[in-house]
Amino acid sequence: MPAPSVLVWSLLACQDAAPARAPPADADADTVPPGSAFATDNPLWSAAEAADALATALAPGLPDSTVLGTTYAAAIALRDDSCPSTIPGSTEEGVGPWRADACTTAGGTTFDGEVSESTDTTDDGDGGTIFAQLLGGEGTISDADGVGYHHSGQANLTCTYAADGAVTWEGSFSGNFAAAWGEGWLVEGGLASVFMEGQRGDEAAIQLFGGVRTGDVVLHFKDLALAGCGLTGELRVQDPTGYWWRLQFEPDTDTCDACGALSWEGRDGGELCLGETLLAPLTALAEGTCS
């Protein structure tokens, strides 16, 4: 007697499944890359509008790890014994992880979310010290006037204070950050996914890789580096259609005017000199971080 499924199958007079499809051809070998298919043939913005957008986005400065750390410290200091709940294992420095479902302190500060924070200071083994701070999670701290601090994501900062007085640092942002209780870029805040490293002192320098969205304007720093007043790398700004204007820098320490070659999708957009519009926030970040 056939198995039930065989019997049913026979009754229905259906066909067995077709043979499995043969493995597809190797796309690399057989495919001619398609031609350009840009959604738009012409830039939405003129070069001047791209320059305006750059200026607008740079005006509040750049994400600053030190400012973020001090702003968070001031905000978390508004906690009380019952709000928010801190999680056992908090580090000696800083408050450590906390979790709250919109609790409000006696002083009227509301905590909501789950945030981990750690700060640590160690010897660098050569007579200096290393300070490291990590912020992670998603949390909001607010009062009756509104949100004072918010972040969703991670931010790291490592400051190395060498025995000879040199200060070098590395920092990163990855997420959404805003703090009305802060200063500079953080007041309006926005999305930031950027790696930074730099050094303070007479030879202050900074290098950035990644993007920042301030308001509606998105910037990308492709290995943008400032040493003295010489710039290398590329600064990009995205228009509302999603395409990018690119400002390519070649070192020019004679004029210190932050001039670069502007282009859109390979088309020459002329020279654009941002001057202090770009130099000022970069210099402030280079000199202010780990201060």
């Binding site: 066909q15 499944a17 398609p34 992670g136 910037l219 509302p240």
Partner: protein, 549 residues
């Protein structure tokens, strides 16, 4: 018996159940198939289920009979039926494996009512499906599915995601407000919550999904030979993807595509904002994490916004769409050799139809493979292997057909029991779950029969209870009242009507007699004609003639 039929159903002359005698269908390359095409009524039933997810009405079947050319017009009409859009959603859900029972963020993270978890899942997962279905139904160019600057959102998504949604109930056109590029389904949260990545997978899973779903090229089907290597460290892994020949074959194209998706990459699996919000600030991070610049199979992508247009311009996208629709409607995998000519013809028609989905579906309905009824007597075993004749009705089409027919939907605590596996019986019925089962069952199974048993019993009870309780228009039982029994003209008319509605066919005398006997036995046992109709209707719904086509 013919006299009875003529007397009891004067408004309807049974459609010719004799299939055309030649072996050629109406479509391209029909003569190459050793099949006898379905008769008009059976073909219309198949197409009705496939295109709009409901069975033909008796009036529609009757309209086929007087005019031999009526079928083609009726098939055209199916494509403008309002239910077609919903059916497209189901069709692409099956093909794209979208309806899984878990997405990146659980409903609890949004404080969604636990009783609405099913609704939450389907809202998230159906976003790209609804976009595709709307484009398909609206006769927009199919390339819009990867270039549209709009999406679809229901009330749930409107409350959770950064979208501006047009007013109205249910699914409405919407636009994201977070600056994401105009890449159609490739810029929807629903797509990427279904095809999630991990922080260390760097979108490679998503890139593979794009290749599989839009180009019909599955990286996982490529044969590879792996040598043991230490791939635990990120740098070692990156080095292998760039230099190890076994890896380079795939990663040379996969990784640049993955790099184009970093606006959707999240470096934390648990943060809501990471998943909900697009990150234009991350569009170039692939260069850092993957060590490659974004590209589409060798062509550089200067912006994430380039991805959709590049997909749309790729000839493989058109070919894959044709292949996808052919497989969905033929209910079998295509054979790149045996089906080459038919697929070429379909592709030509799709292109000449300005890449609109309707003409493509209509062209597939014309193919001999779609219209295959039975094999010819001289068909070989090889022919039997390559042609799908009778098929299982797709589970979601079956579900909607039962609902339309009887008013019954199998709902338990908010979960559609034929559309989930957390609480229901979807895969047991033969559908995909999107993860462990990615192709529908093509053979009848015991589990499908068991599911159909429960569906049939409940649906029959619901239909009988509702019809016999109303003074208004009845769904199924319009010919009888509670006093009619076998031997009466109303009973015979009702039985004929049920056969037409459920099977689109006229029963022979033996079948009518056996149905009457079943009714009589149930009536004798219960003393209630309503209970007898429930028994008979349940039996008819369990009949494979109902859930196959």
């Amino acid at each position: 018996m013919l006299l009875i039929l003529a007397c009891t159903a004067p408004e309807f002359r049974p459609p010719d159940s004799t299939p055309p005698s030649d072996t050629a269908g109406d479509g391209p390359h029909a003569a190459e198939r050793p099949v006898v095409p379905l008769a008009d009524a059976a073909l219309f039933r198949r197409a009705s289920l496939d295109v709009r997810g409901t069975l033909p009405t008796i009036a529609e079947l009757a309209a086929l009979e007087p005019d031999p050319g009526a079928l083609e017009g009726r098939l055209d009409a199916l494509l403008v039926d309002p239910a077609h859009e919903e059916r497209l959603v189901d069709m692409f859900a099956e093909r794209w494996n979208m309806r899984v029972d878990e997405v990146s963020l659980s409903s609890q993270r949004f404080d969604v009512d636990p009783l609405d978890e099913y609704g939450y899942l389907r809202s998230v997962e159906e976003e790209p499906l609804r976009l595709m279905a709307r484009i398909g139904r609206s006769e927009l160019p199919w390339t819009d599915i990867v270039t549209a600057d709009w999406t679809m959102a229901d009330e749930m998504l409107g409350s959770l995601w950064p979208v501006a949604r047009e007013a109205g109930d249910g699914w409405q056109v919407a636009t994201y407000t977070d600056g994401r590029p105009a890449n159609g389904v490739l810029a929807t949260n629903g797509m990427w919550w279904r095809y999630a990545t991990t922080p260390n997978n760097y979108n490679r899973t998503r890139a593979a999904a794009i290749s599989r779903l839009l180009l019909c090229e599955d990286y996982l089907e490529r044969p590879i030979r792996f040598e043991p290597a230490n791939l635990l460290a990120r740098d070692d892994l990156l080095d292998a993807t760039r230099h190890e020949p076994t890896c380079v074959g795939c990663h040379s194209t996969l990784d640049p595509l993955a790099a184009a998706l970093f606006g959707f990459w999240n470096n934390d699996l648990f943060l809501i904002e990471e998943h909900v919000t697009y990150h234009p600030d991350r569009e170039f991070l692939g260069a850092y994490y993957l060590g490659v610049e974004p590209a589409w199979y060798g062509a550089p992508l200067t912006a994430a916004a380039d991805l959709g247009p590049m997909v749309a311009a790729d000839d493989r996208f058109v070919a894959c769409t044709v292949e996808t629709l052919a497989e969905a409607l033929w209910r079998r995998d295509v054979d790149p050799v045996a089906d080459f000519g038919v697929l070429q013809d379909l592709r030509t028609q799709f292109t000449e139809g300005e890449l609109r989905l309707g003409p493509l579906i209509r062209a597939v309905l014309d193919t001999a493979d779609y219209r295959a009824g039975t094999l010819t007597s001289d068909a070989t075993d090889a022919d039997a292997e390559s042609v799908q004749t009778r098929r299982l009705v797709p589970v979601q089409a079956l579900s909607s057909a039962v609902a339309d027919l009887t008013g019954f939907t199998w709902d338990r605590e908010g979960w559609d029991q034929l559309d989930n596996d957390n609480h229901g019986f979807r895969t047991l019925a033969g559908d995909v779950d999107g993860e462990s089962l990615t192709r529908p069952t093509s053979d009848p199974t015991v589990s499908r029969a068991l599911v159909m048993k429960r569906v049939a019993q409940s649906a029959a009870a619901a239909a009988v209870d509702a019809d016999f309780a109303t003074d208004g228009e009845r769904r199924l039982f319009g010919e009888v009242d509670t006093t009619d029994v076998p031997g009466s003209a109303p009973f015979d008319a009702q039985l004929l009507a049920l056969h037409l509605r459920l099977y689109a066919s006229v029963p022979d005398a033996d079948r009518l007699a056996s149905d009457a006997a079943l009714f009589s036995a149930a009536h004798a046992a219960s003393g209630d004609t309503r209970a007898a109709w429930k028994t008979l209707l349940a039996g008819m719904l369990r009949d494979p003639a109902f859930w196959t086509y």
